[in-house]
């Protein structure tokens, strides 16, 4: 069906060109292939199974490739950030380094310590893979390029991610290692808290788009030519932070805080079992970036650009940019302490996220009741919400006392007076936070 500029709806009613060689939707080729199978007189279930297989294989293949790419990108980019070169020995520009790493991990001995719970020690790495992979099933990679478009996709993403908690706990517990157990308990507490933030952040998106279907959210964004990011800046920030927690990225990499608890819940894992954790981390990063792109950054659409450029390329471009954000924070920021991170979730993000939900609900109600046109309503909402986000963050920070002068950076006292004592006991603002948790 040809693209109709007056409605802008050529996107949803069907592919622009349904020829198999139209690269803008790889689903076309698959559809043509399935039709061909049907024409050969195969029984009904064959195309059904084949389409599923194609989807699964494509996603898995892409995940593996892109995970290798992620590892390479991260190592090179962090290398640049750290004023060094990064891996450049294996292959051109070190491109084969991730493969070499993988081979190394395969060849290394997978040690199981004697007092470990053998069965659960094995379950942990497997279980941690599942949520990361399952999330990928509902992400629309391009027009018509998804494994399944669940009508509760957004909820599914959250629900599946919550299984992560159990996997981490099992891994930490089965290792029978104190560092691992500490890391696991930290992670569980942290994931549970930030799951809440994630749900509240996504609620705003769902309220605006009026559907929990991932594809519908993308369509909504392309229909109104607006990314949810501009309507929901506060939710976007909370979601980014919560996602960083979920995939264990700095400054929230407390679960595997290297300098404190060695490697957290996967301290005892080696060889390919460690490789599973390592891979799952990157797959989860891939999935989380995909969710962010789909729900906040317009998915595979970009203001009509998807008519000329394959949508899946746009999607991947955005995905890598989002991933760069995570690399950037990792390369820059130190790590928070667990109680500070929890306090940040409960005392800072949660009230703001709740307020955001209320404001969003009110806006959608106004939009519907006052019968405003989208061209008027959405820009106003965007400006209001951006202003509100800044005001709320600053206001809440002031209210919580984070901006008081004694909490700000200071400089050392310079003196010539030998033997003088300048000591004043700490004012106790941070101390209050600390003991309040205990």
């Amino acid at each position: 069906m040809p693209f109709d500029p007056s409605t802008g709806s050529g996107l949803r009613t069907g592919p622009f060109l349904a020829e198999w060689y139209d690269l803008r939707d790889l689903g076309n080729a698959v559809g043509a292939f399935l039709d061909w199978i049907r024409d050969q007189g195969a029984p009904d279930w064959v195309p059904y199974v084949v389409s599923g297989l194609i989807g699964v294989v494509a996603i898995l293949l892409w995940v593996i490739l892109s995970q290798l790419a992620f590892i390479w990108i991260e190592r090179r980019v962090i290398g640049r950030m750290q004023a060094r070169i990064g891996p450049n020995r294996v292959g051109p520009q070190g491109l084969l380094q991730p493969i070499a790493d993988t081979i190394k991990l395969f060849l290394k001995e997978a040690i199981t310590s004697r007092k470990a719970d053998r069965a659960l020690f094995w379950v942990g790495p497997v279980l941690i893979f599942l949520p990361a992979l399952a999330v990928l099933a509902v992400i629309p990679f391009g027009r018509g390029m998804f494994l399944t478009d669940l009508n509760v996709g957004v909820l599914f993403v959250i629900a599946v991610a919550s299984v992560n908690t159990v996997a981490v706990f099992v891994a930490g517990w089965a290792s029978n290692n104190k560092f691992a157990l500490l890391g696991a308990m930290r992670t569980v507490a942290m994931l549970i808290s930030y799951e809440l933030i994630q749900v509240l952040a996504l609620l705003g998106v769902v309220v605006f788009a009026g559907s929990m279907r991932m594809g519908a959210v993308v369509d909504w964004q392309s229909d109104f030519n607006v990314w949810v990011l501009f309507l929901q800046p506060l939710a976007f920030i909370s979601f980014i932070i919560a996602s960083a927690v979920e995939i264990g990225r700095s400054p929230m990499d407390i679960s595997e805080a290297e300098s404190e608890i060695v490697a957290g819940y996967h301290t005892e894992y080696s060889g390919i079992k460690f490789g599973f954790f390592y891979a799952a981390e990157y797959i989860a990063a891939f999935a989380v970036c995909g969710i962010i792109v789909t729900l906040y950054l317009g998915g595979w659409t970009a203001w009509g650009l998807e008519q000329w450029v394959p949508g899946w390329l746009l999607f991947l471009g955005k995905l890598y940019l989002t991933f760069f954000l995570f690399i950037w924070t990792r390369g820059t920021l130190p790590r928070l302490r667990i109680d500070q991170l929890m306090a940040f979730a409960w005392k800072f993000l949660l009230p703001l996220a709740l307020l955001n939900v209320v404001v969003t609900g009110a806006e959608v109600l106004i939009w519907r009741e006052a019968d405003l046109s989208a061209g008027v309503a959405l820009p106003i909402f965007g400006v209001v919400n951006a202003g509100l986000a800044v005001a709320l963050i600053l206001g809440w920070a002031t209210f919580m006392g984070h901006l008081r002068p004694e909490r700000r950076a200071k400089r050392a006292v310079l003196t010539q007076e030998l033997g003088a004592i300048y000591y004043t006991p700490p004012t106790g603002t941070d101390e209050a936070v600390r003991t309040g948790e205990a």
Partner: protein, 367 residues
């Protein structure tokens, strides 16, 4: 009724990413909070003090490279000052200034490690440290120019320094000194005002001034607790009485203040270096000494402000070619004694940061 929990004992080290060597602490935890800490040292003990009694005074200089291997120059200096005091000799003027230059370069280099590792302990995934190491490399290049070695310099000699600096040293040093303030600005922007570092280090590991004095800690830890004490001012050695600099002190005695003091001291080091590079006179760099000097019988204690604090060498001579007794007052070891006072009541994550702020070098702790 309080919760009955098992005392959860975690053994941190000797193989642990952030014990800075082979330090070991047994932490008794209640949840994440530390109720007791047991420090175990000695994994790197090399019997240095006893070995030194079997070697001549000159042969002992390389040992002092290996006590505090992050700051070899100051180790050399403290030892040769003690022997010079024993022999009653005074090194020439140029040697004095070279000692100041090398000490301050070493202080800067050592503080880059201290600050970088501290940021690492806060979880900053190596970025600040790698940037710091970039500057340290340049300083080590200067050391290599001066004495041929980068880490174990073995540069100071009884009665001077081993050799004069080569002609290319001065331009390189001037260029470096011109560059460093810019870098310092970057670090101060990245680290000092970093919100997360502020939250992580404010009010953590507080060592009050009276306790700091009572525990006889020294160096940035003492100054971080607000006591303006610096051997370079209190008991000037080399040419420190001729240069202008400030003592940097903190006010609250927490981890952040120690960190602050180190960063400020790096600035002061640049300031001292600027003066010293201008004021250094020409002339001989060492007095003539026998290869194996035999100082008159007696004892001498000399102390200097090493990057970690008061580094003292106590040397007793019985008139022979080797010291009769050789003792090192190592600042790391004595600063470490205050560690348990700072760490109890904090969390595991804090313990690591506090240890990072104490800035121990295990070679010096265990000797």
């Amino acid at each position: 009724m309080a919760m009955k929990t098992e005392p959860f004992v975690v053994n941190v080290g000797p193989q642990h990413p952030s014990t800075h060597g082979v330090f070991r602490m047994r932490l008794t935890l209640d949840g994440e909070r530390i109720t007791d800490v047991d420090m175990v040292v000695g994994y790197l003990h090399r019997s240095m003090e006893k070995l030194a009694e079997e070697r001549t005074f000159t042969q002992n200089i390389p040992f002092t490279d290996r006590t505090d291997y992050v700051a070899a120059m100051t180790g050399n200096l403290a030892y040769v000052l003690a022997v010079e005091k024993l022999c009653g000799i005074e090194p020439p003027e140029r040697a004095q200034w070279l000692r100041v230059i090398m000490s301050e370069l070493q202080r800067f280099a050592s503080h880059t490690i201290a600050v970088g590792i501290f940021a690492n302990d806060c979880g900053a995934w190596h970025t600040p440290m790698m940037h710091m190491l970039r500057e340290r490399e340049k300083i080590l290049d200067l050391f290599e120019m001066a004495c041929g070695a980068r880490l174990t310099t073995n540069y100071m000699r009884i009665g001077g320094v081993s050799r004069d600096i080569p002609p290319e040293f001065m331009p390189a040093a001037h260029a470096l000194i011109a560059e460093l303030p810019k870098r310092m600005g970057e670090y101060e922007g990245l680290l000092l005002e970093n919100e997360i570092i502020l939250t992580r280090s404010r009010g953590v590991g507080v060592l009050p001034a009276d306790l700091a004095i009572a525990s006889s800690v020294s160096g940035p830890i003492l100054r971080g607790s607000g006591v303006a004490w610096d051997i370079r001012k209190a008991d000037p050695y080399a040419a420190y009485d001729k240069v202008e600099f400030d003592i940097c002190v903190g006010t609250n005695g927490d981890v952040y203040d120690r960190f602050l003091v180190r960063v400020a001291e790096m600035r002061q080091s640049i300031h001292i270096l600027e003066q010293a590079l201008d004021m250094i006179p020409a002339g001989p760099v060492a007095v003539q000494m026998p290869l194996a000097p035999r100082p008159p019988a007696g004892e001498a204690y000399s102390r200097i402000e090493s990057p970690r604090g008061e580094l003292g060498f106590y040397v007793v001579s019985d008139g022979g070619p080797a010291p009769y007794r050789f003792h090192i007052r190592s600042p790391s070891y004595i600063n470490l004694t205050a560690f348990s006072d700072m760490v109890v009541g904090m969390t595991v994550a804090d313990a690591v940061v506090i240890l990072g702020s104490v800035d121990i070098v295990l070679g010096e702790v265990d000797r």
